[in-house]
């Protein structure tokens, strides 16, 4: 069949924030696939210039409403690298604990309210809730268990205020942390039910060849570490710009990331899972395999299973940290303020989040670079869209739009971190040839 096909959708639903997607098909051949992001000027990087280093966690927390902890942890990691000191094991464990809370919140929101409706054929979570009320209530209660960790350690329910360069403003008592246990123990079982639930969905057969990029640390990648890939990268965060490059592309105001000399790469749950499967808890590994995953997952549609597995991991990890907790003698480590440059990484729910700062000798920020995970995934998303398009060209336009939208949702793009608006256009052209 030759001809022009044009499909336009005004908005991409159920993605946090918005972006744009345009597909052009000429005589049944895909000519172009563009995933574009329209973004206002990078306000936050510019806003930080001239401000004291201590402001970075509080300012960057406002970049993303669903992953403020990720921004805070990457920023303090970078500042502590610049100031050349370490906060020690117990404060690092507390940072990992609050990070577990954020993973739970973010992954559960995505699985239950943003992604599952796709697989079950519902237009939205509201429609799904009418038929599956208990399941949605389970998701909301699970999310609340994650919220509780973030609120307790973060100091308040929105824009956590308790993290600082050097540690925390206040550390919890053992009793306060123990109060989280009952809901987390319920949540552990609910997370297992979540994995079993999503593993029963029907998944398109898509197998991509990704360069996976994630943190490497002693535990499952989350709060700090080196940067590795499945194609040989193994670097300190300070070397990030030597191996990864950000390019402005004419159609988008966000920056498209590439591995220097290679091309697209993927960060996020699939990357973490595939690079560090053996570092999951035994229960998480077992349920992943029971759900039909192998030690590597390169089907982006199955990201919903991987997020569910990571939710279980985060709950078990949170329980472990709480069990081993001994309140540190000081909530924050004293440090010298001096000029320097530092880099820091952590694994936001959506993937690797890189911060770099330069400080003058009074600790004021003279340069800032923030590379969010969704910007890093743009080229991989485009590549996936091309594959899905090739496999579904025969579909009517509305069905094709739906499948393509679902493909973008596989990535749970936090486009709020990188953009402000999404519009989908599929243009099909007939040449008559």
């Amino acid at each position: 069949m030759s001809g022009t096909r044009e499909v336009a959708v005004d908005y991409l639903a159920r993605v946090e924030g918005e972006g744009a997607m345009r597909v052009k098909v000429v005589d049944d051949q895909i000519e172009d696939v563009e995933f574009s992001i329209f973004e206002p000027p990078r306000f936050f990087e510019a806003f930080m210039l001239g401000r004291p280093y201590t402001d970075a966690p509080d300012i960057t927390a406002r970049i993303c409403g669903i992953c403020p902890i990720a921004y805070q942890v990457s920023s303090v990691n970078a500042m502590e690298d610049a100031l050349e000191f370490d906060v020690g094991e117990q404060l690092t464990a507390l940072r990992r604990l609050i990070y577990c809370g954020e993973w739970i919140e973010s992954h559960v929101l995505h699985v239950y309210l943003l992604h599952a409706p796709d697989f079950l054929g519902y237009e939205s979570a509201i429609h799904m809730a009418a038929d599956h009320r208990e399941i949605v209530e389970r998701g909301l209660r699970l999310k609340k268990a994650g919220n509780a960790i973030v609120t307790l350690l973060g100091g308040r329910e929105i824009h956590p205020i308790n993290l600082r360069v050097g540690g925390f403003h206040r550390v919890p008592t053992k009793k306060e942390l123990d109060s989280l246990i009952p809901e987390l123990e319920w949540g552990r079982d609910a997370a297992k039910e979540t994995i079993r639930w999503v593993s029963g969905f029907s998944f398109p057969k898509v197998e991509e060849e990704y360069e996976f990029v994630a943190i490497s640390q002693d535990g499952y990648p989350m709060n700090t570490g080196r940067i590795i890939s499945n194609r040989g990268i193994d670097i300190a965060p300070a070397e990030f710009n030597d191996y990864f490059t950000e390019e402005h592309v004419a159609r988008s105001n966000a920056l498209h990331s590439r591995v220097r000399g290679r091309g697209a790469y993927l960060v996020g749950p699939l990357a973490r899972y595939s690079l560090a499967f053996e570092k999951l808890t035994p229960a998480a590994r077992d349920l992943a395999l029971e759900a039909g995953l192998g030690p590597i997952c390169n089907n982006p549609f199955k990201s919903i299973i991987v997020r569910s597995v990571e939710t279980l991991y985060a709950i078990e990890e949170a329980l472990r940290i709480i069990d081993e907790y001994e309140a540190p003698k000081q909530s924050s480590v004293p440090h010298e303020v001096k000029a320097g440059e530092g880099s820091g990484v952590s694994e936001a729910p959506r993937g690797l989040l890189y911060h770099r700062y330069r400080l003058d000798d009074e600790g004021r920020i003279t340069d800032a670079q923030i590379t969010p995970p969704t910007a890093q995934n743009q080229l991989s998303i485009e590549s996936d869209l091309r594959v899905v398009l090739e496999q579904n060209l025969e579909l009517p336009d509305d069905d094709l739009s739906w499948v393509l939208e679902q493909s973008i949702r596989n990535y749970d793009p936090c486009i709020s971190c990188a953009t402000h608006f999404l519009k989908l256009t599929v243009e099909r052209v007939t040449t008559g040839g």
Binding site: E16, G17, E18, P40, P41, F43, F44, F47, I59, R62, C64, G65, I66, E105, L109, L113, S124, A125, I126, H127, A129, A130, R133, V136, E137, L140, R141, K143, K144, N147, E157, I158, H159, C414, I415, S416, H420
Partner: protein, 140 residues
């Protein structure tokens, strides 16, 4: 940090100390679990949010939320679920209060900035006064 996106919290700031102590003031980033939980045991909830519906900046509209919120009221807080969907989800789950009053304040700028634009600042004052009147009439 996103200018008029702060209209809701600004109204809360105006109300603090002026409403009876048994009227809880809850600030939310749009976290659906938090919102639905906050409403669960309430008879009446008043919600204030910045909206972008194409009306002139500073326009204030008041609705009965139980009748539905216009989907054109896309919150510039693009994180998480929008207000319209949160209310509908609450309805689907049977956890909506008996009365839901929604104030939408039309935003002008949500791209970046630490202050409200003048028209939205004026709207914040208007909405705060109206809420105080509503609450005092309820108490009377």
């Amino acid at each position: 940090m996103r200018s008029d996106d702060g209209a809701g919290p600004a109204v809360l700031d105006r109300l603090r100390g002026s409403v009876p102590t048994d009227v809880p003031l809850v600030e939310s980033m749009g976290d659906v679990a938090q919102i639905l939980d906050a409403w669960r045991s309430s008879e009446w909830v008043i919600i204030v949010d910045a909206v972008m519906s194409g009306s002139p900046p500073g326009t204030v509209r008041r609705l009965d939320g139980r009748g539905g919120v216009p989907t054109s009221w896309r919150s510039p807080s693009s994180h998480l679920i929008g207000l319209a969907e949160a209310i509908e989800l609450g309805g689907s789950l049977g956890s909506l209060p008996d009365e839901v009053t929604v104030f939408g304040i039309e935003a002008e700028n949500v791209d970046g900035g630490t202050t409200l634009t003048p028209s939205v600042g004026a709207a914040v004052e208007e909405v705060a006064e109206e809420i105080l009147t509503l609450v005092s009439h309820r108490d009377a």
